[in-house]
Symmetry: C2
Subunit: 185 residues, 2 copies
DNA sequence: ATAAACTTTCAGTAATTTCTGAAAGTTCAG
DNA sequence: CTGAACTTTCAGAAATTACTGAAAGTTTAT
């Protein structure tokens, strides 16, 4: 893997951002390297290009595979394992999004459901429970909505995103369009 | 602040999740405590309730204020400062979302723009640049879209979210509805 | 001006996370 | 079965991040 200045700065940047996106620096760098490479790349090449230990590389790749952002690519007649991106950019973004939802929202939803089953012992608890309930509903809407968007598939999703402020106008016409359905509030 | 078991488990959980949401354990706990409290709460009370130092509390509050998740609440005739949530649950969620966008997407967009200005030196770089370009476009769409959704305001946004699979049907009718506008592709 | 009641800052320490590299594991050719 | 070429694991080291508490700062009352 030839590390040109362009690739180097992209890789470094994705390393820095990595921690904000849910993984650590090295994992971010490995991902960038694999995505930007125009050919499958071996673990050893990654370790060399990034100046990290072979062990660390192995763990990073394991993590990226668990996120399904990277997959193995077998080259016939090679003993080494090569790696390539787990899909196109859109797919990768989706996977990061999904995975983060699992880690950031689902556990909270589950706890909130439990806490909402208890009968509040006093005024303070009743108030806290109200708030927790609001949070629960919000997270539920967001989850359902993101699920919905995923079901639309890439092309419709793209249409929707490109629609821009048309969404607002469309909503105003909604009731005429889909009579009887979802007449909210 | 009376720490009932219900409140304690919620606070602890938000502490654990805190790091996944962009801040650290203590900051998450402080936020939960303030949101769930039914009355303004002083820094000392927070430190006591969470068993953390006064200094740490001060820093946590500073961070939460920078995220605009918490604000000061002056009580006449009191020298101490009290704190309350920066808004209702929906507002808070929005602010977290916005703030994270600023930290997670904007810097990358900016770097990508720069990198895309360079002329690729060879095949490998040209390929890498294509990928970077795809990433840039994706992030740009997402940013514009999230901006659009925010402009809709809470109620319309809620309508849209509750619409569920209706969104798909609506998109199919779109061109009849908004003729000439945004005929994508 | 002084003191009391509070807040913030920050150097040093503690806790947590990440990384290394040696050892153990796997696979395959001969 | 043996050894070469690779991979993974994991204990300890290094790096990073978070926390404490004492000192300095601020505000208000007298």
């Amino acid at each position: 893997m030839k590390m040109t200045p362009l690739i180097t700065s992209a890789v470094m940047h994705f390393g820095e951002m990595g921690s904000r996106w849910g993984f650590n620096r090295t994992v971010g760098q490995i991902l960038a390297l694999i995505v930007l490479a125009d050919e499958p790349i071996s673990a050893q090449e990654i370790a060399d290009a990034l100046n990290i230990s072979r062990g660390n590389t192995s763990m990073g790749l394991k993590e990226l595979q668990s996120w399904r952002l990277v997959k193995q690519h077998l080259v016939p007649g090679e003993r080494r394992e090569f790696f390539i991106a787990g899909g196109d950019i859109w797919t990768l973004a989706n996977r990061v999004f999904e995975e983060r939802r699992k880690r950031e929202i689902d556990p909270t939803m589950s706890l909130l459901r439990d806490l909402l089953l208890d009968t509040p012992a006093n005024k303070t608890e009743a108030n806290a429970q109200d708030k927790l309930n609001e949070i629960h509903d919000l997270l539920e809407s967001v989850t359902a909505w993101s699920q919905e968007l995923q079901n639309l598939g890439p092309d419709k999703l793209n249409t929707l995103m490109k629609l821009g402020s048309g969404v607002g106008r469309m909503l105003e016409l909604k009731d005429k369009l889909l009579p009887g359905k979802n007449s909210v509030n």
